[in-house]
């Protein structure tokens, strides 16, 4: 749920504050809060979402059968949520069980993110259409080598869309699942990475010494090398 900070609400609040407080002037100094259009419909059309998932499956492809690609572990959902202009930008805290409680954005953050999600929506819509165009009509239906060729070309051209796609693929894959991607912590599991530890590693045991009231890494543990079975050594 978002708060719905409208321009009318802002001006009313400004007028109230101006009447009651020691305001020098009512001044939005060019600081107009844009309406945040939160689409009730899916952010991307079904066709664009199909193109996006096809691209994500090439940005980080599955490494053989049974392995996951970026599309498989929710990077597409992550991106659609980012484009939605919703309020769920910063997770709650301090521990995982509170992450879902996204606090509302401050006024200036709301202004910044409203502009940013709108900008990104335009970047994605144009970029995804460009993928289809360059793939000869349908990027999703093109063979993998063609898909890779199209993406590589955009990368080398310095495309703004590709830059966003790379960044958001990585965020969707490697950020905490509370943001919509990294489904089932699959990406972290792959790297034998614990990710968030507070309230997670020792959630029920309470205090296990001064170092571990909340569950981090014990001194006797962090002084030893880690382990990741099946992971190859550095080439």
């Amino acid at each position: 749920m978002r708060r719905g900070y409208t321009r009318r609400g802002f001006l009313a609040a400004a007028a109230r504050a101006g009447a009651a407080g020691a305001a020098v002037s009512t001044l939005p100094l060019g600081a107009v809060v844009p309406e945040r259009a939160v689409a009730a419909d899916p952010i991307l059309s079904e066709a664009r979402r199909r193109t996006l998932d096809a691209a994500l499956a090439r940005m980080i492809p599955a490494d053989g059968t049974g392995d996951w690609s970026a599309a498989d572990i929710g990077a597409g959902d992550y991106i659609e949520r980012l484009l939605s202009g919703g309020d769920d930008i910063y997770a709650g805290g301090p521990t995982r069980d509170e992450f879902e409680a996204f606090p509302p954005l401050s006024r200036v953050k709301e202004m910044g993110w409203a502009n940013e999600s709108q900008r990104l929506r335009g970047v994605y819509e144009q970029g995804l259409d460009e993928l289809d165009r360059r793939a000869g009509g349908s990027f999703a239906d093109a063979p993998e080598p063609i898909q890779d060729l199209v993406l590589t070309t955009l990368d080398l051209e310095g495309s703004e869309f590709f830059a966003a796609l790379y960044e958001h693929t990585m965020e969707g894959v490697y950020a905490h699942p509370v943001y919509g991607g990294n489904t089932g912590y699959r990406a972290w599991e792959d790297l034998c990475y614990q990710g968030d530890v507070h309230g997670v590693r020792y959630p029920t045991e309470g205090s296990v010494g001064a170092w571990n009231t909340f569950g981090g890494y014990a001194p006797e543990e962090m002084i030893e090398p880690g382990a990741c079975p099946g992971q190859g050594p550095v080439a």
């Binding site: 805290g93 200036v108 910044g112 009231t213 090398p225």
Partner: protein, 572 residues
């Protein structure tokens, strides 16, 4: 509503402003603190790279207040708009995100010119105060924020510094922390090579201290707000105690944009509050503590009279520690994200190469944690992964590298250069409608000299640590606060991204710009932090450093703020 009156108004609630607020409130002054960012708590934090690294919960947020960068004026108005030298924008300021490394500067740092001599193209100077003059403030601040260092708990004389390794003699409030695996390898290797490693002193609790818990070594430390308040940021130390006196009010979301003067004195500060309303704060004394970038920006936005303020120096001599360093790769998992930013360090190079004459530009060599404090996102491994290729090469890269490397970095002292400047960008405004800060910064050649001199030593240490290979940080493309345009493809990664520093790793230490000195023609503030021409206007942040030292600067910022605030308290 009765109009509130304040003795002192402090702009900025970070390391400097927070400590100044505490000292003044404790001394009986009524203190108002204006902070442009929100008042967050540990409930807003969490072990979460995305909110801190990518979405700038506390960092300078280019969606709100971008900054611009150019490496020299010949490049035009600017080369980059986005995140430049980010410092936290919240109650507690930079002390919330910092790695909490807390050294005192050395006696030599206060007489930099006398110690290292002149450097062509730079203006290396002695400070107007000595180490001995700052020593009492250092001691008070170390107790206030809770610094751990010296011998470990189980060793004889816990908290006592090793006399061979460090120049200071008095013990730390808490003993040194145990090392993580990479730091242990470093410690053993450095000893083998004849160096003198020791636990990095940090404002991170080693066991419970002052009502706050001991560190849990979670790794989400530098660049993050501490989710358990084990890090001694000013929000949970100085500011909490200041508010507890009943004489300190903190106003968050209060964006100061103008200091007004009349009759040769500062009269009021104008700010925009959280609802977008412009308000005024009046007091007898004003302290600017907005950081090295934002304090000169506020002075420039205020267009202060030229007969009162030395505009010839405001914004100049910006210093950003260069960060010569390397990365070593290991067959085994180092998993350096366990613990905190820096767990072991050594000072054998502090004054120059061992056995050589004093040489400017070196500093403390440290093990450092995940790049920028992020194991994966932001400046973490994915920024490097791109250079290794996306697509089919991505997963093999991540699987072979993640957890298998360790950084070493030196807090290299960069020279104060007159043409390295913070001023106002002529084109870009922030969401409040004011010109943003523009950073013009070019590395002095000495930075490259030091990097070249250090690499053989860093390689030797990595070799003794058992690394299979090592390389300078340079090709490792870590985003940093020192942007250099066009050196890699990072400029394509969109608004809000930082540029890699071609010399070293990620460091946002920013100093200078409001130089402290005896001579009103060559400095902005005097040895008490007071503007030469305005008797009731002070600066208490990193901007007053005449030189940058070779240590993380925050403890010295806080000690200076302590000393400056004591001077104000005596006068009010």
């Amino acid at each position: 509503m009765a109009k509130q009156t304040f003795d002192v108004c402090i702009v900025g609630s970070g390391a400097g402003g927070g400590v100044a607020a505490y000292v003044l409130a404790k001394a009986g002054a009524r203190v108002l603190v204006l902070e442009k960012g929100p008042w967050l708590t540990e409930k807003d934090f969490g072990d979460d790279e995305l909110r801190f690294g990518e979405r700038n919960l506390i960092d300078q947020d280019p969606l709100i207040e971008p900054r611009t960068f150019r490496d020299r004026p010949e490049e035009g108005p600017h080369q980059f708009v986005g995140k430049v030298l980010p410092v936290s924008r919240c109650v507690g300021g930079g002390s919330v995100h910092y790695g909490a490394v807390c050294f005192r500067f050395r006696p030599e740092d206060f007489r930099a010119r006398s110690t290292w001599g002149a450097l062509p193209g730079a203006d290396v100077v002695d400070w107007p105060i000595t180490y001995q003059e700052l020593l009492p403030a250092y001691r008070e601040v170390e107790k206030l924020i809770g610094v751990s260092g010296g011998g470990m708990r189980e060793e004889p004389g816990p908290g006592s510094p090793d006399p061979d390794a460090e120049w200071r003699t008095d013990p730390y409030p808490m003993p040194g922390h145990p090392p993580n695996y990479g730091a242990k390898l470093f410690e053993d290797a450095a000893r083998t090579l004849g160096f003198h490693p020791f636990p990095t002193p940090v404002a991170i609790n080693n066991g419970p201290y002052d009502g706050r818990p001991g560190c849990s070594y979670c790794g989400f430390c530098s660049s993050h707000g501490c989710p358990i308040n084990a890090k001694g940021d000013t929000r949970v130390t100085a500011l909490a105690k200041a508010v507890a006196t009943g004489r300190c009010e903190i106003r968050p979301d209060a964006y100061a944009f103008r200091v007004e003067t009349a009759g040769g004195k500062a009269k009021r500060v104008l700010y925009v509050d959280g609802q977008g309303i412009t308000r005024s704060a009046e007091a007898s004394v004003f302290v600017l503590a907005c950081s090295t970038v934002d304090t000169p920006r506020l002075v420039l936005l205020s267009d202060m009279p030229r007969d009162l303020v030395n505009h010839d120096v405001v914004g100049r001599f910006l210093q950003i520690h260069h960060f010569p360093g390397g990365v070593g790769f290991f067959d085994e998992r180092i998993d350096y994200y366990r613990g905190f930013w820096s767990m072991r360090c050594l000072d054998d190079f502090y004054l120059g190469l061992p056995g050589g004459p004093p040489a400017f530009g070196f500093g403390n060599l440290q093990t450092i944690g995940p790049s920028s404090g992020y194991p994966l996102l932001a400046g973490g491994l994915i920024s490097t992964a791109k250079t290794a290729g996306w697509g089919r090469s991505h997963k093999p890269f991540m699987r072979s590298v993640f957890g298998h490397f360790q950084f070493l970095g030196m807090i290299g002292q960069d020279p104060p250069v007159r043409s390295n400047v913070v001023d106002l960008d002529p084109i870009v405004n922030d969401v409040y409608g004011f010109p943003v800060a523009r950073i013009t910064y070019l590395h002095h050649p000495n930075d490259l000299v030091v990097q070249a001199a250090m690499m053989p030593f860093i390689e030797a240490i990595f070799l003794a640590m058992g690394a299979v290979s090592s390389q300078p940080v340079l090709p490792f493309a870590i985003p940093t606060g020192i942007p250099q345009v066009g050196k890699t493809d990072a400029h394509r990664r969109g608004v809000g991204r930082q540029f890699p520093n071609p010399i070293g790793g990620a460091v946002n230490h920013q100093l200078g710009t409001m130089r402290m000195g005896m001579d009103p023609d060559a400095s902005v503030v005097d040895a008490d932090g007071r503007f030469h021409g305005i008797p009731n206007l002070y600066v208490a942040d990193g901007s007053i450093f005449p030189t940058s030292g070779g240590y993380n600067p925050t403890l010295t910022i806080q000690a200076l703020a302590w000393r400056i605030a004591e001077g104000i308290a005596a006068a009010v």
